[in-house]
Symmetry: C2
Subunit: 550 residues, 2 copies
């Protein structure tokens, strides 16, 4: 068991080292901060988290959100920039921990899948675009597609060809390995699993190859930007300074980072746990992630979340328990102690190419087409989220996405489908008069609202009933068939009471049928049957038989 | 018909004159502004509105909201205060008109009944409390219960006893007339309808009586505050000045006023229309109210909405068409032209007493108890709305109430009831195994989620299924019985697809049964049956028979 965890950890570590450096680059932080964020958080998550294979360390989207949050903090000097990143990790950790203690894990359910996938796609595009500058050896920054695009266009003329050559080669190499490396190696007689794991070491291989080339040919003198001196040793532990005005500016971004990080991590953790027949606990995950972020902050790191690619590799490589995470942390710690002098000549362009290839698998526009075919309102959600994230940045994107998806959900429940139903001859079933040939009685109007009766649709249901009654003076009974009504909230209760009185004044009796147990219990608590002019029937068949004879 | 309208209009006018003066007092505006707001708006609403009996002019809650909005506008001089009130009416009108043109009438459905009734009760308490100062002849102001309470306590020592005597007498007189005037007059041989209408003229009677007393005894010299000179004549028409910084400050309050005013007006209009077998059109109502508010602004008035008390009287007094509203406008115009010199000596305490009695009928704490018995989440909504409105003011109250009721709705749908069901022997019905004695097959797990499958509960439903599967290795088929599923959104679709794959890896097949037409149509559009490891059965009975034989 320990042996399996050790093998998995070795492979994860080989991925983790270049990724940590690269994600620090996304967040505009010194590369060693990436390494620091991949030691203590891994260990702390292993202790507190419930997923056995989730790899909690720097990840792409959280790094982008960190960059975006820090770019909005006013008056930052270089030194303060790092302090702000650390504070962001601290705040995210505290919020996650708080959500966990308050058992608010269900909050993540309010982010719909179209919203999340739109947000991830747009973020990945922003990340890839933000790395184009490093690939060309020019300065380019910004927190949305317009800003980054403008700054790229401004300085594209000063492209460094050596940098481009290195970055371009790594990009092509990684792309080829990713798209056909596994098949090629299998043709050469390698086993599938080994071939698959080998492809994961491609970023480490290209890092070593390019830093060697830069070193041998002295390319740093030709203007190729390298990561330069990385401090040797482990991070020192310290509590971050609590600067109130900084905390105020970082609170909202920290909440966004913690929620998005949590949603991503839990989605990954759940998928893996289901495969393994294990279970993860949402609220305990919040606590695990919260502590991991606090640990990151204390050890001089930035916000961390679960990473899809590394967690999958960890799982595929045979990790059995969380001990694999602890081994990976030891691997990164060893790299911080002994490998940093070697990394001196590592070109930033290599890291940029690694990032671009890594996030390209997060970009998925094909889902948009499927969503459009499936449902209009989810389609608008994903479109708006993508566009706003690209053009206004990550925070505006996720915030408007949440508001829009909740609004569209309410709008949808506000005009439910209401079927006029009749008896299917020879059965006890009542079906839509428009779809089936059914028996009806002109004196009985039976309507089946296909939705719970709640504040957002109570008026609509009431209006629909009046529309029938106003145009047909033969109606003596209105029956609301409640087979699809999972809830009647207080607004709907008042509407039903008012409806009963006002129909009664027109000599029309109001009845309910097929009311579900929990709904009936609530109605009985307020003695609704006394307010209702008619009856509450167990089945619609009973209602129809009873009323047609009178 | 014209005659009936004329009679109704006369009675409404007698109520409207003191009410208009009093509501201007709530908004801290010169009393003539109340009269101006009760001329053109009535006529314009009669032309554009769809309710035949709704009386659109100054009303209590909108006046309070006006006062609250204006108190927050920074750096207002006396002159600007009136200009800001006029601009507030203009903006409310523009928003209402815009909502109407965009057909956003359904937006009002997002305000639940507990939210509205809590808000009205708390606002009425604030209004009554804000008038206590006028009743005692002292200065007292504030936009929440703490501010008003403090300012009352500070100056209660300087109470003017003459004022208190007048205000107190009017209060007692109006209270007695309201609670038992009708019965008493009927005992004296008056007909019920006439007696009922006579009680409505009590505020006008007390106004005339007290202004006569003040005049005769010269009480204005003893410190009794009177309304003083009211300009004679009709309001002049003018377009308000568009001051951008003022508009910015008033936008949010204007949106609140327009939404609350619309919700109240439509509720009143609908109740009356239903009694009369008429119909009101929500979007046309927005246009009617919008134009009425713009008309109010142009004629120097403040925000107007439909008033419950006057509309009921208008209806009961026999109004047949909107012409009744036009007659009432003529009545108020005549009062502005000829009656204002008489009103010189009208004590403000009389108006304050009128207001307190009028709003007391809006205060309804009894509903809280019923809501508590009926449903917890609506109970929290009404409590929070009342407390926040009282302690933080009208805007915070309504905003937090909306957020809370939407949050609670989502929270409720996020953990739906999921029943494990079995076959009721001798029938084709499938019922909850916990409530009924039913036939089950250990190889088949049939679950019936009592809620639409959407983003907020997709995870929960998935987790519930795994909980069953993880603890029972005999299960070979999982059937989701969709009889209560009115919608499967894209998030839930993805969850079902993932579930199907992951259960299949455990040699468990996933099926659906009793899928509703519209849901099935959507699933077919994306060929969900190809993704599903099992079948989609028309009925649960068919599913059970098919699967138990394999």
């Amino acid at each position: 068991m320990l042996a399996s965890d050790l093998v998995a950890a070795s492979i994860v570590t080989i991925m983790l080292i270049p990724q940590s450096l690269a994600y620090a680059l996304i967040a505009d932080l010194p590369v060693e901060v990436g390494l620091y964020s991949a030691i203590l958080p891994l260990i702390v998550y292993a202790v507190f988290g419930t997923s056995r294979t989730l790899s909690v360390a720097p990840a792409a989207i959280a790094s982008l959100m960190t960059a975006s949050a820090l770019s909005e903090v006013s008056n930052l000097h270089d030194h303060n920039y790092l302090a702000a990143a650390i504070m962001l990790a601290m705040l995210s950790g505290i919020f996650l921990l708080l959500f966990g203690i308050l058992k608010l894990g269900f909050l993540s359910n309010f982010l719909s899948h179209p919203l999340i996938s739109g947000f991830i796609t747009a973020s990945a595009v922003l990340i890839a675009l933000s790395q184009v500058g490093h690939l060309l050896g020019i300065q380019a920054s910004g927190s949305n597609i317009i800003e980054i695009g403008q700054s790229l266009l401004l300085s594209v003329k000063s492209t460094n060809l050596y940098t481009l050559a290195i970055g371009g080669s790594v990009l092509v190499f990684l792309y080829v390995i990713k798209s056909s490396g596994e098949t090629a190696m299998m043709k050469l007689g390698m086993k599938k699993r080994l071939a698959s794991l080998c492809t994961k070491s491609a970023p480490a291989v290209s890092a070593l190859a390019t830093l060697y080339i830069v070193y041998v040919f002295g390319l740093e003198d030709k203007g190729v930007l390298i990561v330069n001196t990385i401090p040797v040793g482990l991070p020192s532990l310290s509590i971050p300074d609590f600067n109130l005005s900084l905390i105020k500016e970082l609170t909202l971004p920290a909440i966004f980072i913690s929620i998005v990080g949590y949603v991503e991590s839990v989605a990954i953790g759940k998928t893996l746990a289901e495969k393994r027949g294990e279970k993860i606990n949402n609220n305990q995950e919040l606590i695990g992630l919260g502590n991991a972020n606090i640990a990151s902050a204390i050890s001089g790191g930035f916000p961390v979340t679960g990473s899809l690619s590394r967690s999958m590799v960890n799982n595929d490589a045979g990790a059995v328990t969380q001990v694999s995470g602890i081994f990976a942390a030891i691997g990164v710690a060893a790299a911080s102690l002994f490998l940093t002098p070697v990394l001196f000549f590592l070109p930033k362009a290599t890291l940029a190419a690694t990032i671009i290839i890594a996030v390209s698998s997060l970009i998925d526009f094909s889902v948009i087409k499927k969503i459009r075919e499936y449902e209009k309102s989810d389609y608008y959600t994903i479109l708006v989220t993508i566009l706003l994230t690209l053009f206004l940045g990550v925070e505006a994107g996720i915030m408007c996405g949440v508001i829009l998806s909740i609004y569209l959900h309410l709008h949808r429940t506000s005009k439910p489908h209401i079927a006029k139903v009749g008896l299917l001859e020879g059965t006890e079933y009542f079906k839509n008069v428009k779809r089936h040939s059914v028996i009806t009685d002109p004196r009985i109007l039976t309507l089946r609202p296909d939705e719970s009766l709640i504040f957002s649709n109570a008026n609509y249901v009431e209006d629909s009933i009046y529309d029938y009654v106003r145009n047909d003076n033969k109606i003596a009974h209105v029956v609301i068939m409640c087979s699809a009504v999972n809830q009647v909230d207080y607004s709907a209760l008042e509407t039903l009471e008012k409806l009963s009185i006002s129909l009664f004044e027109k000599h029309i009796t109001l009845h309910l049928s097929e009311v579900k147990g929990p709904v009936l219990d609530a109605l009985n608590r307020v003695e609704f049957n006394k307010e209702l002019s008619g009856n509450i029937y167990f089945s619609q068949f009973e209602a129809f038989n009873d009323l047609k004879e009178t």
